[in-house]
Symmetry: C3
Subunit: 309 residues, 3 copies
């Protein structure tokens, strides 16, 4: 028997979840779709705190929207500078304060391990909204949800992750999650931005992984093209960034050789790695992904607060 | 037959609206007064996103108050620095993201044309909360509403716009709106801050316009004195600002020659262009204007979301 | 007969309140405990504006949580830089604007007297959320509430205030409030951070006050140890700060000589004046204090808005 009890649980790392648990979250997400359209009072009287120690408007607004659509309320801050942190408070004390205000906390933090530490101290569930360069579990879940919704199922898919596979926290969580399914994974990046060895090792035990630098070569074979931004702000060295930015550019020319039912995803924001001309193609699914992020976060809020089982 | 369908419509420029449409908005605004006092559930389950790419506490809080008084909820940001923009995202992508979160978007942006661009990309209505130095349509509507509420009707009024008529976006939208009524318009400013030629041309075809620099001369004739702040932050040159700041000062001495039932308006914030001694006079109406801003924005939210017809 | 009418009243200074009034607020606070756990619709349709001209995440989130738990809504800003203040608006105009938006205003301001000024201009109640270095009445009320809740009653207690008694606004309001009860007060600080003469004079007329620098000496006698952070940001001179920081350190060694039922309070955030090892002791009550802050602020909101009598 599986333990599918989510009430009171932290969502810190995608690695804490089994395939069955992830499927369960995706099922609950699907059941949230009508509530996301019409609104609901499921979490009336509950408060979400969004503690964003680094700015991420997109993720913050997604969590807040999810909570509001379930009838709950939101408090929080959008930047560390606004916070008590300025006065030198440590994260454990901040958490032990905010757990008095809120029923659940969504935490974004620049340091690896911050969400884990917060979960150790917190009496209320912690939802990791991105910590350091390692983890972004709710993004991985919305990516999986999008693939399942768009392609019917995840098993059997050929999926390419393209761009910055080294610094992007999104792709680490996603690669781990995908390794729970029967898929083939292509990792396409410049040499200097290859996925970290420890992630690859953990993944290639379970699924077939192909590393490479040439996107044109793999484009005809794949079902899902997952593009990431090369994140200037995570490069220690500006010259290194200059060398690799613009390596991959998804445009109509590239897509000529793609499957008709390819879907293109991107965690956003994008710079110019996907040309504007692609937006109007049926393959472009990166804005639909945003909506899916809301329903997945609604599911997580409802689950950890015990409002659905 | 007029097309008075507002559901789904963008409020980008006051020039998009006929006199009949504006009168209709003013009528709906009047019907919002009791709801503004007591609260309402008219927009329960709806979400407003306030995307303020430049700070404007006054306008942002007015929109948020309007939404909350109608029972809706609010997400958003108060400054560009907090936003994804830092990571280099373009406005079209931001809009195509946020339209997934919100049922309506209030946008403030430093660039001319930003609201128009946003409206082209957005599936949900865009309310222009000030873009560049050109447009501020909801301010113009609350100015009209205040004149009508205070003076019974707009037709027949003699109205002076005073101060910075060049850089102030408020007065451009207001001048266009007033040109739809049978009024006489006095434009009083320093030479270097005269209203732009294209605005004057568009307006003087329809109504009688008098340009001048001397406020004392016109003060005995006017019914509405609309004062604007000379906005330091919009001057390319600090020396130019020093020359003209303090040109006009509304005080009790000036008002001695004014009509008893003159009303004084100001979009706020003011610096010292209206003396504090004026606040206690019956002519001072600039704080009542703030309340009117809420009811007008309630009307616009209810209209574009199809909650009133 | 006492005047216990709180509807429409400002909460500017703890000195405006009698012992009977404070006891009344503490009683109402107690009645808020179940609503703080379950939520309520007592203030549905009402709006709180949190105007924080200096950042204080803790206090701001506490007020917002209190309002949300009573079913009300919140608007506001977290930092002066976001506000109209940047454009040079004075506080009186800001208040006369925001009173149109909100039913009650919580104001945090760096200047002494700001809350008093705001209250003079405002039509809606002002709750002082900290002004200058003088006043923080809601903090004092939550401190009293915590002592009463933890120790049964305030009369008869021996209470030590420790740390920065000169610049900390919390301790001024608290000392005044405690002087209304039959307590013995120990004021323990470095010489350069002694409590200001005028506060001591006002207090020692009413209660027994002992000033000193040695905490170890008094620790065996006291019932309440109220620790404050030595606030770097309030020191005119960095060298002065360096001299006194770390003067007092509450650790297990110190507590060996303390009463078993001592309680340790702290307005938070703390730096290292309380060692982490103390957190697990039964004496540590500083995180419970945070919860008490919510119920006290719920009581104040409900009282000044006339929702309880």
């Amino acid at each position: 028997m599986l333990n599918l009890e989510f009430k009171g649980r932290d969502i810190v790392s995608i690695e804490d979840f089994s395939r069955e648990e992830i499927n369960y979250i995706l099922n609950i997400s699907r059941s949230m779709e009508p509530l996301a359209s019409k609104g609901s009072d499921m979490l009336k009287g509950k408060i979400l705190a969004t503690l964003f120690f680094e700015p991420s408007t997109r993720t913050r607004l997604s969590f807040e929207t999810a909570m509001l659509k379930l009838g709950g309320a939101v408090i929080g801050f959008a930047e560390a500078e606004v916070a008590s942190v300025r006065k030198g408070e440590n994260l454990a004390d901040t958490i032990r304060t905010v757990e008095n205000y809120a029923d659940v906390i969504a935490l974004r933090h620049p340091l690896d391990g911050a969400a884990k530490l917060a979960a150790e101290f917190s009496k209320v569930p912690i939802l990791n909204a991105g910590s350091g360069s390692e983890e972004h579990p709710t993004q991985a879940l919305m990516d999986l949800y999008t693939m399942q919704k768009e392609k019917g199922k995840i098993d059997g898919l050929k999926i390419a992750l393209v761009g910055d596979l080294r610094y992007g926290r999104t792709v680490h969580s996603l690669a781990y999650a995908l390794s729970l399914y029967d898929i083939k994974l292509y990792l396409i990046s410049p040499e200097s931005l290859k996925m970290r060895k420890e992630v690859i090792h953990a993944v290639e035990n379970k699924i077939s992984v192909v590393e490479g630098t040439d996107l044109e070569e793999v484009i005809p074979q794949i079902d899902v093209l997952y593009v990431t931004r090369i994140q200037k702000e995570r490069f220690p060295d500006a010259a290194e960034y200059a060398k690799v930015k613009g390596t991959y550019k998804i445009d109509l020319k590239l897509l000529k050789n793609a499957k008709k039912d390819l879907i293109i995803l991107h965690p956003l924001p994008r710079l110019d790695e996907i040309a504007a001309e692609v937006d109007a193609t049926p393959q472009a699914r990166y804005f639909q992904q945003v909506w899916n992020g809301i329903v997945v976060r609604m599911a997580l809020l409802a689950l950890v607060l015990g409002a659905v089982k």
